[in-house]
């Protein structure tokens, strides 16, 4: 029984943490508008982060989502604009659903970062269900995908399609579609609407309902892992401020109205962290438990991080509301986390259903 990270995983965590501090601090994050610096993507690829979960047979490191977990957590801490999440989701989808020829062609390029994937699964903003996939599949694709993550800087898009009850995934060249970047609350999580007019996919393969649920769960787990780091950063920023900001002759962190709110942040982060680690482990080692584990983790995190984001700004007072101060960046991330891959309401009710109700 060992519910902790290995020495290798801890080293990986330190590596990502150093990268975020040295190469991708918040000043760099702030300078992006729906994109990322190419050299940072190159570095992330050289360090092997994009290859982590790609099988060795296809040029990857053959590791698991629980290894990827530390990368997502640490890049979330610094609100990294690199689309590691979408890239990982594309790798997981192709590895799980496509044939050997598609895998051999695409997985090595994903591992090296030579292709950059944007991902669009659902076309209904709230419907986490096969019926929420609206784009009709076929030899050529015509229609719209209104919510494609990380599409603006992608070289390729992985898009879910549907023909009546039959689901599919299509890889298309980003140059073959019309992209419209959408203004979002969190600029580090860009998404775009995509319209397709008789676009011929570079590859297309079937996806089962279970596959779609699995990919959605992976997405929910990934978002939650990033939220651990982001929420801890919010707590650290606010704790530091509470120690140094003097009001009524005392540091405000001495007052229970402030310190108890910070203690509650700690309680919630500890808790969704434990749920998220278990879910990340379940992705590869206990997939039968993934749906329940992913829903519990995402639901808890979605609500808790939203509160933490608001209090992170609020406990600072007016300075927290300024554009210059960093607390607002985390609040924006928390608003994106709420909706991504199913909100708390959806996941709590799903957990009840999975629990036999």
């Amino acid at each position: 029984m060992d519910f902790g990270f290995s020495e290798e995983q801890n080293l990986l965590r330190e590596q990502v943490s150093r990268f975020m501090t040295d190469a991708c601090p918040l000043s760099v994050v702030r300078a992006q508008n729906g994109g990322f610096p190419d050299e940072l993507w190159r570095q992330a690829a050289d360090l092997g982060w994009l290859a982590l979960i790609v099988p060795e047979a296809h040029g990857g490191l053959g590791l698991k989502w629980i290894d990827l977990a530390v990368v997502l957590e640490e890049s979330g801490r610094g609100l990294s604009p690199l689309p590691i999440l979408s890239q990982a989701l594309a790798a997981t989808a192709i590895g799980r659903c496509s044939g050997d020829d598609v895998k051999s062609e695409w997985l090595p390029q994903i591992a090296t970062g030579d292709v950059v994937f944007g991902v669009g699964l659902y076309d209904d903003p709230t419907w986490i269900d096969p019926k929420g996939v609206g784009l009709e599949g076929g030899e050529t694709l015509t229609g719209a995908k209104p919510f494609v993550s990380d599409a603006t800087r992608a070289t390729h898009l992985l898009l879910a399609t549907r023909n009546r009850e039959r689901l599919g995934l299509a890889i298309v060249d980003a140059g073959d579609v019309t992209l419209k970047a959408q203004p979002g609350i969190d600029r580090t999580k860009p998404f775009a609407s995509v319209s397709l007019d008789r676009v011929k996919p570079l590859a297309a393969f079937a996806m089962s309902t279970a596959d779609l649920a699995y990919l959605t769960d992976c997405g929910a787990v990934a978002v939650t892992l990033e939220a651990i780091g982001a929420a801890e950063a919010t707590m650290a920023l606010t704790t530091e401020y509470a120690k140094t900001r003097i009001q009524f002759d005392n540091p405000i962190g001495k007052y229970q109205g402030v310190k108890h709110r910070l203690a509650d942040m700690f309680i919630d982060i500890e808790s969704f962290k434990s749920l998220a680690y278990y879910a990340a482990w379940a992705v590869d080692d206990a997939p039968e438990e993934l749906p329940r584990a992913a829903s519990l983790a995402k639901a808890y995190a979605a609500d808790a991080f939203a509160r933490i984001g608001i209090d992170g700004v609020g406990l600072h007072g007016a300075i927290g509301f300024t554009a210059e101060y960093d607390a607002q960046l985390y609040l924006k991330r928390s608003k994106w986390v709420r909706s991504a891959f199913g909100d708390a309401d959806y996941h709590y009710q799903r957990a009840a259903a999975l629990g036999g109700l």
Binding site: F3, L275, L296
Partner: protein, 386 residues
């Protein structure tokens, strides 16, 4: 990361399961002599005081084996392994850590054999959360301490044989945590008067305890004179949140789901109500979080890394969850839900209503939730003390 158990650990789990299959009949079939037989049998297995060293009669179980034992006992809904809850939870561990050899030989076997009941004399009328400010006075006179003062909210005092008593031997101290001395006192000592207090549930299991010129032999002092605060702290730290509690809470959640399945609200099944379904999901998420928090903390201990005050996290979860689950059941079932046992419409025999009256006391007992939040904020986050 690995959730598998070693062969030895699996064998131990099988041993516990076999024992339970053989020795734990269903509640309806447990006769009058069952409890005393049960206590003797688990004692013979050395599962009472399972974490304590062998030389004092404990079971020397590893951390993982302790977790397995607690989990299996809770899964089988087995009764407690001893009748002196406080004796097993912190008095015994405190004596093992701070007691003299003579004290260990004198007190430990009786705790393990459920021969004595202990109560805990900490809170005073003016000092509850601010425990270190206690004023009950112990004055050294020859080979005795003479104790004068009052304790209150002393759970179990009406039937306890012994009390672990926090007193002040020095009043002129720089820090209020100094000058505190811990004494072990028989409850039948002349000068002790117990006045039970009725709680909101109608029970009288806590009490005021008055001390008037109570003579306590010096050999009954636990730890050094004036250093009693350290004993107290270690005692409270022994009150670990256990895997067993989580198992019991999952069982409570299942009962709650059964209640939802059989309840109709406004002519429709309660199980169709999205807000009801969401609440069930929320309960499950928090209980599961407690489970995996507990496993992460257990892993830390197994790796020899020090635990800080993280265990307060699960204590706080439990405090709010137990009350919320009871209240949810009471509210779900409307006016029937507020009927106590004996009511014609009482739900599940009134257990939810009854339970909802008891939990607030448990929650306050181990240090109020706000004190737990202070502990997290000050010890883990490093925020300034009040």
């Amino acid at each position: 990361m690995d959730f598998d158990f070693t062969q030895e650990e699996q064998a131990f789990r099988a041993e516990v399961r076999d024992f339970l299959a053989e020795n734990l009949p269903p509640p309806a079939e447990r006769g009058r002599g069952f409890m005393s037989e049960w206590l003797q049998k688990v004692r013979d297995k050395r599962w009472v005081g399972f974490s304590w060293p062998e030389e004092y009669g404990g079971g020397a179980g590893s951390l993982t084996e302790q977790a397995i034992l607690k989990e299996e006992m809770a899964l089988a809904r087995a009764p407690a392994l001893g009748t002196s809850f406080m004796g097993l939870a912190w008095v015994g561990p405190g004596i093992i850590q701070y007691g003299t050899d003579e004290q260990k030989q004198r007190f430990i076997p009786d705790i393990l054999d459920s021969k004595v009941n202990w109560c805990t004399g900490y809170s005073e009328p003016n000092h509850g959360s601010d425990l270190a400010a206690i004023q009950t006075k112990a004055e050294r006179v020859g080979d005795h301490y003479v104790v004068n003062g009052q304790k209150i909210w002393t759970t179990g005092a009406p039937w306890a044989d012994w009390i672990i008593l926090l007193t002040r031997t020095e009043f002129e101290v720089e820090r209020k945590h100094d000058g505190i001395t811990c004494l072990l006192v028989p409850m039948d000592t002349p000068g002790i008067e117990v006045r039970p207090i009725e709680n909101m549930a109608g029970d009288s299991n806590f009490a005021e305890v008055f001390f008037t010129d109570v003579q306590v032999p010096v050999e009954n002092r636990l730890g050094e004179e004036g250093k009693g605060w350290a004993v107290t702290i270690s005692a409270l730290a022994n009150e670990r949140s256990s895997i067993g509690e989580v198992t019991q809470m999952f069982a409570k959640l299942e009962s709650l789901k059964n209640l939802v399945r059989t309840t109709t609200r406004q002519g429709r099944p309660a199980s169709d109500d999205p807000s009801v379904r969401r609440r069930i999901g929320e309960f499950e998420a928090k209980i599961a979080a407690m489970k995996y928090n507990g496993l992460r903390y257990l892993t830390k201990q197994l790796r020899g890394e020090p635990l800080s005050s993280e265990t307060s996290v699960n204590k706080l979860h439990r405090a709010s969850l137990e009350i919320e689950m009871d209240d949810f059941a009471v509210e779900l079932t409307g006016l029937a839900g507020v009927q106590l046992p004996g009511g014609d419409e009482a739900v599940d025999g009134g257990r939810w209503a009854r339970s909802s009256l008891g939990w607030p006391g448990v929650v306050i007992g181990g240090g109020t939730p706000n004190i737990q939040r202070n502990i997290i904020a000050e010890r883990i986050l490093g925020l300034p003390k009040d």
